[in-house]
């Protein structure tokens, strides 16, 4: 507590912190293993997104960084190389945005934003200035005296962001901050948060199950599955070169085809493809919709199938094509015409882009 006050008085903006997780595992009281031993380094100023389905351990990892949970014995959390494992959240000087915002209903918007400053005994005039800055930054100046229950979801979100950032935290942690909002507002706020993070250059850890959010915001994405890190990488890397079938499936849309290799050719019920790069043991190939296109019917080296569904997406048609596999192949066609249900089509696949595990 004391050292925080001291650091705050002469700070113009706390320097962003590098965060290291060393061998952090988390077992809950009921014996469930929420996080397997995990090592992770987050660079100062970086925005990192934890992405995964519910129960994958992403929120647990965030709470370990925040200090809301303690790692199992042997794990440690380091801020700029200093072990903060034993420090509770109130001593870590972080800013956090919760999924349901955790705004104080007994305080006005301005009081909520100023609360962290009040705790740090920032004198009233400076506090007022800072609250004013935050209100302006989030463009909610007119809401200063409102009570929390008088705000819409998007306004609450802005207050939560302002409150967490008012104390100039060393790291900014967000736990599914947009999940409670409707789709349109989510898009708007995603753009705003992106601009905010770029301008602040603050170390940010963002938890989401929404891949669009992750792609848009993350310098790097940590894809998590069953309490383990499945892959870490820049959004493009994760999309183009998924490390595991789980990542391939979780990010974007992925087509699956089961079959077998024969002499450098992949044979499946719908036809065969020349894939010299694939191993002989390949049982399944994957490719994204953008790597397949419609071809002239019965052209050699293409797969054939029948259209089972077609959705108009404005600039293109999304087609679901039955190729005799367990799941239909999805592809986007630029052809501006109506597709009949049951229509026979052929498709070419960019064999360079085929993934196999």
């Amino acid at each position: 507590m004391i050292e925080h006050e001291a650091t705050y008085d002469n700070d113009i903006g706390s320097a962003p912190v590098a965060i290291d997780l060393r061998h952090c595992a988390k077992t809950f009281a009921n014996g469930a293993l929420a996080l397997e031993p995990t090592d992770l380094s987050i660079a100062a100023g970086e925005t990192i997104v934890f992405l995964g389905p519910s129960g994958c351990g992403k929120t647990t990892t965030l709470r370990l960084i925040a200090g809301l949970e303690q790692p199992d014995r042997g794990g440690s959390v380091l801020f700029d190389g200093v072990d903060v494992t034993a420090l509770p959240i109130e001593r870590r000087h972080i800013g956090m945005v919760f999924q349901s915002y955790a705004l104080f209903p007994n305080m006005t918007v301005a009081e909520n934003i100023g609360y962290g400053l009040r705790i740090r005994r920032v004198p009233a005039p400076q506090r007022r200035t800072r609250i004013g800055e935050m209100l302006e930054m989030m463009r909610i100046g007119q809401l200063a005296d409102r009570r929390i229950d008088q705000l819409s979801g998007g306004q609450r979100q802005r207050v939560a962001l302002a409150r967490a950032l008012a104390v100039r935290p060393r790291a900014f942690l967000l736990d599914e901050p947009l999940t409670a909002l409707d789709a349109k507002l989510r898009d708007t706020l995603r753009v705003e948060i992106d601009a905010l993070l770029r301008s602040l250059q603050i170390t940010t850890v963002y938890v989401t199950h929404d891949q669009d959010e992750a792609m848009a915001l993350g310098d790097r994405i940590v894809v998590m599955d069953h309490g383990r890190i499945a892959q870490i990488g820049r959004p493009q890397e994760i999309y183009r070169r998924p490390a595991t079938p789980f990542v391939a499936d979780f990010i974007g849309t992925m087509n699956h085809l089961a079959g077998r290799m024969d002499n450098g050719r992949f044979i499946c019920p719908a036809g065969s493809l020349t894939c010299p790069g694939l191993g002989n043991g390949t049982r399944e190939i994957m490719f994204r919709p953008e790597h397949a296109e419609l071809a002239a019917v019965d052209k050699a080296g293409s797969l054939s199938g029948t259209v089972t569904a077609a959705f108009f997406l404005g600039d293109r048609m999304r087609l679901f094509i039955d190729v005799g596999a367990s799941r239909p192949v999805i592809l986007d066609s630029r052809e501006q015409r109506d597709f009949r249900h049951g229509e026979r089509v052929s498709l070419n696949i960019d064999t360079e882009a085929i993934l196999a595990f």
Binding site: M1, P88, E90, P105, N106, T108, V109, L173
Partner: protein, 269 residues
């Protein structure tokens, strides 16, 4: 048309019920202000009986007030932290405690009082002091405070609010004062009203616990009704009413949210 008839019927029914409930109160209070109850209002109005009660039973009124306020203080100090712990813990032990704490309400007051006398009656200084009655009142009123605070706390997402406060640097003490207490204010208020009214009016237990020197208002009222004129007892009721109404209103006032505005504050800086 039928809607109007229905409305009128409901109105009349409501007014009749109100009259049924209020009439005894009004008659009783009037009785305390009439010269002769048997002769009726025609005998004239007087403050004589009220004066008589005031001079003879003043001490019981102040003792009751003091007991109610002490009882409120003790139940606040014990009950609010206890409610907080119960609301935060999910275990079976917490639920068991929540049930157990209601026992003094279910058990007849006379039984509780007897148990207290049997156990602590030997401690002479304690037995003859008002603190002995206070113990009984706290036992009886604590569950009302705990329950109403727990009820409010279970509606607000307390762990989340506390995590929010902690993330902004607030240690346990600050969180409790800044976030927990203000957000269970309505529960505390409801509990406080219950505690004050129950303690002021408690008779069962107090009747056994009191000594001639530690008589409370309801015990004095019973004495008055049993041994003196009906007008005295009724005048007593009048005083009781006059005492408790401002007290309850004051508590209501305390609970009103303070309003501070960001921009108004700016001018003061």
């Amino acid at each position: 048309m039928t809607a109007r008839i229905l409305f009128l019927a409901q109105l009349i029914f409501t007014l009749l019920v109100c009259a049924f409930l209020l009439l005894p109160v009004i008659l009783s209070m009037l009785a305390g202000l009439t010269v002769n109850y048997v002769a009726g209002l025609s005998s004239g109005l007087t403050l004589h009986w009220v004066n008589e009660v005031w001079s003879g039973y003043r001490s019981t009124i102040f003792l009751s007030l003091a007991l109610a306020i002490c009882c409120l203080i003790v139940t606040l100090l014990l009950g609010v932290p206890l409610a907080y712990v119960l609301a935060r813990s999910q275990g079976r032990v917490a639920r068991a405690i929540e049930e157990l704490i209601v026992m003094p309400v279910a058990i007849p007051g006379l039984a509780t009082a007897l148990a207290l006398i049997v156990t602590y009656g030997g401690l002479h200084g304690f037995r003859t002091s008002p603190a002995f009655i206070l113990v009984g009142h706290v036992l009886f009123t604590l569950p009302f405070m705990v329950r109403s605070v727990v009820a409010v706390l279970s509606v607000v997402d307390l762990p989340m609010l506390e995590e929010g406060a902690a993330s902004l640097g607030a240690g346990f003490g600050r969180r409790f004062v800044d976030v927990v207490l203000p957000n269970c204010r309505h529960g505390i208020l409801a509990g406080a009203l219950m505690v004050i009214t129950l303690s002021m009016g408690e008779f069962n237990m107090t009747w056994l616990l009191h000594t001639p020197l530690t008589k409370t208002l309801p015990v004095g009222l019973a004495d008055a009704y049993a041994s003196l004129r009906l007008e005295i007892g009724s005048a007593y009721t009048v005083i009781f009413f006059i005492m408790i109404m401002p007290l309850l209103l004051a508590i209501q006032m305390l609970a009103r949210p303070r309003i501070r505005t960001f921009n108004a504050g700016a001018k003061n800086d």
